[in-house]
């Protein structure tokens, strides 16, 4: 079955520290991978995507993610977080159609 696992439900981190949000997926076919961010009381916003090519993908707000096919992972990283990065982050994929599978989300809480 196709699924996305976000290994951490909550990640507390101090401001200016690095952060990694982990994501693993399960699919028997090739996938397109996404990270979305949801700020409080808002809809989802696309942070970055991997479609093909370079496995290191850079997104908005200084985030990047690396696609690792052998480990079926797509971890999200930021070298130095800000208070404003506090949000819910969703990893997702689809296999080329319109249906997207979302992970359960990771709540990033940045502390001063």
């Amino acid at each position: 079955a196709q699924s996305v696992t976000q290994l951490d439900s909550q990640v507390p981190v101090f401001e200016e520290a690095p952060v990694e949000l982990r994501c693993n997926y399960s699919s028997s076919v090739s996938v397109y991978l996404f990270w979305y961010v949801q700020y409080p009381n808002q809809g989802l916003q696309l942070l970055l995507k991997y479609l093909s090519g370079s496995t290191l993908v850079k997104g908005i707000n200084g985030f990047e993610a690396e696609f690792n096919k052998s480990q079926t992972s797509f971890h999200l990283r930021k070298p130095s977080v800000h208070i404003s990065d506090t949000a819910e982050y969703f990893c997702a994929f689809n296999t080329g159609g319109f249906k997207t599978i979302f992970g359960a989300g990771t709540r990033l809480f940045v502390k001063a």
């Binding site: 996404f34 809809g43 995507k49």
Partner: protein, 115 residues
Amino acid sequence: SAVISQKPSRDICQRGTSLTIQCQVDSQVTMMFWYRQQPGQSLTLIATANQGSEATYESGFVIDKFPISRPNLTFSTLTVSNMSPEDSSIYLCSVAGTEFYNEQFFGPGTRLTVL
């Protein structure tokens, strides 16, 4: 990217009533999607709505409970019928990207509380 608006942004409703949520897109799109996000959980796809045809519902969702209209290429509505407290959720509409249809753009969501 598409700009999507939803009305209402939030509502508090009584058990047994119905609420219609509107989704407006600033450009013509082929496919629109309706999701439910229950408290503290991820997104679950309710249905896919194409203009001019019946919506396609995911397992666990039925048209009688969640009727959808798609009268044109920029607008859709989702009705939550005969509501119960279990329907308290955020309802989000989204559209597929035009350059890369695999990605989706989301509206701000409608936060529904059923008493």
